[in-house]
């Protein structure tokens, strides 16, 4: 009597699994694009290549938003994973903020066109790399939350490590900026960008903190 219903249950689950995977894909792609966009900007400023990448990231963020809404609606409308759906909802929304931080940082470069002296370029790139690695580890942790709960802690550990590294680089960079001969307005402008990139790592760490709790809850 339950056969068609059971098939429906598995069908619905599979469709949602695919959507969740796509959501993660978008975030991970955005991180990689952020990295190449930042490299392009540091090399030659807001060139066509940079703008193209920035728009690509915007599009990915919009798609991620759509997927997130669709997943959330399905989870609640079809009463799937009743115990964990609150956590999944929290996870998706917090991940979306990381996506937002990536997008926001690139928008900042595109609108404000900061003038980054060559002596700081290398460290800006290092900071960007570290932030991207934080996001990539977070995506792995978040995927593990759905498939392999025990691996969550391993990936989260890396998120925390990269975030601390990013903090160190950002402090060092800010110190170097304020000790340089630039005028104050320029210094303050550069500081904003250091903080925007560092914020990506901070947001990713926030999500990882939540994930730790969700993972403990699920192991009970």
């Amino acid at each position: 009597m339950e056969l068609p219903k059971m098939k429906g249950l598995f069908g619905r689950s599979r469709a949602l699994e695919v959507e969740i995977d796509h959501f993660h894909d978008k975030l991970s792609q955005s991180a990689v694009i952020f990295k190449t966009a930042l490299a392009a900007y540091l090399k030659a400023g807001a060139t066509e290549g940079f703008i193209e990448r920035q728009q690509h990231l915007n599009a990915l963020e919009t798609e991620g938003d759509k997927l997130r809404r669709s997943i959330e609606t399905k989870l609640y409308a079809e009463t799937l994973i009743p115990e964990s759906r609150g956590d999944v909802l929290g996870l998706l929304e917090a991940s979306d903020e990381v996506h937002g931080a990536l997008q926001g940082a690139l928008w900042g470069f595109a609108i404000e066109l900061p003038d980054i002296p060559e002596e700081f370029c290398e460290e800006f790139m290092e900071l960007g790399d570290m932030a991207v690695m934080t996001v990539e580890s977070l995506v792995l942790a978040s995927r593990a939350f759905f498939r392999n709960i025990e691996a969550v802690l391993d990936h989260n550990h890396k998120v925390e490590f990269y975030e601390t590294e990013a903090d160190k680089i950002s402090s060092k960079l800010k110190m170097a900026i304020f000790r340089s001969d630039l005028d104050l307005a320029h210094k303050l402008h550069l500081r904003t960008f250091v903080e925007r990139i560092d914020e990506i790592a901070d947001k990713a760490e926030d999500v990882a903190d939540h994930l730790n709790i969700y993972a403990i809850k699920r192991s009970i």
């Binding site: 249950l9 598995f10 699994e17 799937l80 115990e83 759905f146």
Partner: protein, 492 residues
């Protein structure tokens, strides 16, 4: 059927309803409480499988309960079921977890006390021991199954959503198995006391389905349980969810499966036959408490995780329930029987007389209970089992097994083998040689049950008991059950 019969059965139906309202929550509580399974689906599956379990395999556990004390008048059965239901209701109101098994055992003892019947100590010890074994077994099963599930899930690495889908199906299947086991094991609590005084006769439907009088009784009780599930269990299910310890859906599944296996072990005649035919010790078929099985399984999982999160006061509650429930139930039954007999003028038991005739003493001597014990009792008659035991007690001291034998052999139970009653015997249950042997005895009368048994075993091999070893246990049980069927059928 007479209205009076229905009235007397009503207390059993009340008890069935209470069982359905409370114990269905043990099977489907966590599933419905966590909204993994809809209440409607749970109630439907639960009802169907409780009815199947009760009707198909309910007889095993009922047999043991019958041994404890055969309530032999409908009025007595009414009061036994009523006092059990009242005790369960009262204790639930106070908030102490109780079980219908304990309540009904208490009220049977209450009836035994009132009717001056002797409680079979062996059956009582067997039942009480299983009450202790049941939660421990559930705890061991729960912990092992939890560990196993953990390992399997670790390997399988299922997606959260896939796991959710499997868990839902798992909960429904485990719930169905749990309901079947609940019906098979606990129907004895609801309808067991009515078995010796069952008002039904065998029912055949187009030669396809045959329901014995006991099966009809169980069907009726199971329907009452189903009504309890539909009308009242939703509230209990929603509150039972996180009652003992917070559990994940997979944890809930482990609990339901362990609970169901335990109930099934204590009710399955099939398993008993497999064990016995391989010469292994069998598990006694006894009605156990489904609440305690669930609590046991949860505690087992809790201990596996180092004992954090277990509410130990719940354990205290169970022990209090164990002590108080049977006592309250026995008291209500005793007082209730007094009123039913003296105020409402109802027959609450059929007096049974005992006699230490020369024939009985001779037979006991063959059973290695020396005639020297009974010299002064020869020819004495007693109006109750208790009077006989007191008289025997003044002469000598016997073990509880020997006391049981004295009671069995000295009970006066006149019967006559009439040919028309032989014609009505179930030919599928009794073998050809068995019926042939009976026919040869037609027209004869016996003063004691065992006289018929002895006469039959002299007539035919088919009625002979085999030596008492485990491998023969089942065969002997079958012969004994058929003999008891004859005692009921040919009673004067």
């Amino acid at each position: 059927m007479e209205i009076a019969v229905l009235f007397f059965l009503s207390s059993g139906l009340f008890l069935g309803w209470a069982l359905g309202a409370n114990d269905a929550a043990n099977v489907f509580g966590t599933a419905v409480g966590t909204r993994m399974v809809k209440f409607g689906t749970a109630a439907l599956i639960c009802s169907i499988f409780v009815i199947l379990g009760a009707t198909i395999s309910g007889a095993g556990a009922a047999h043991t309960l019958g041994k404890l004390g055969a309530v032999n008048a409908l009025g007595g059965s009414f009061m036994a079921a009523f006092s059990a239901a009242a005790a369960v209701y009262a204790m639930t109101k106070v908030g102490i977890p109780v079980s219908t098994s304990q309540a009904i055992v208490g009220s049977i003892i209450g009836w035994n006390l009132y009717s001056e019947n002797v409680t079979d100590t062996n059956a009582l010890i067997k039942i009480v021991t299983t009450w202790f074994v049941c939660p421990v077994l559930a705890a061991v099963l729960g912990a092992s199954l939890y560990k196993l599930t953990h390992v399997v899930l670790g390997f399988a690495k299922l997606h959260l959503l896939r796991l959710d889908a499997y868990t839902r199906i798992g909960l429904v299947l485990a719930g169905a198995f749990g309901s079947y086991s609940l019906g098979a094991n606990n129907i004895a609590n609801v309808m067991g006391v009515f078995v010796p005084s069952s008002p039904f006769t065998e029912f055949r439907f187009m030669d396809l389905v045959t329901l014995s009088s006991v099966q009809q009784l169980f069907l009726l009780g199971a329907i009452a349980i189903a009504v309890g599930v539909f009308t009242y269990s939703k509230r209990v299910m929603l509150t039972v969810g996180g009652g003992l310890m917070p559990l994940s859906a997979v944890g809930a599944w482990v609990v339901v499966v362990s609970h169901s296996i335990v109930l099934f072990l204590f009710a399955s005649v099939g398993l008993e036959s497999i064990l016995a035919s391989n010469g292994l010790p069998t598990i006694p078929l006894v009605p156990v408490s489904s609440s305690q099985a669930v609590i046991g399984a949860v505690i087992g999982i809790g201990l596996l995780k180092g004992g954090r999160g277990i509410r130990w006061n719940v354990l205290g509650g169970i022990f209090t329930g164990w002590m108080i429930t049977p006592i309250i139930s026995a008291l209500i039954c005793f007082v209730g029987l007094y009123f039913l007999q003296n105020v409402f003028d109802q027959k609450v038991y059929q007096p049974v007389s005992f006699e230490m005739s020369e024939m009985v003493i001779e037979r006991l001597d063959q059973e290695k209970i020396s005639r020297a014990h009974f010299v002064d009792l020869t020819g004495q008659r007693y109006d109750s089992g208790r009077a006989l035991m007191q008289a025997v007690g003044r002469q000598t001291s016997l073990s509880s097994k020997e006391e049981g034998k004295v009671l069995d052999f000295a009970r006066i139970s006149p019967l006559t083998i009439s040919i028309d009653k032989i014609e009505h015997l179930d030919t599928e249950w009794f073998s050809g040689p068995q019926i042939q042997a009976l026919k040869e005895l037609s027209g004869r009368s016996y003063r004691y049950n065992w006289r018929l048994a002895d006469a039959l075993s002299k007539q035919s091999e088919a009625w002979k008991l085999k030596p008492k070893i485990t491998a023969n246990k089942l065969y002997n049980k079958g012969v004994s059950q058929r003999l008891e069927g004859l005692y009921r059928k040919f009673k004067d």
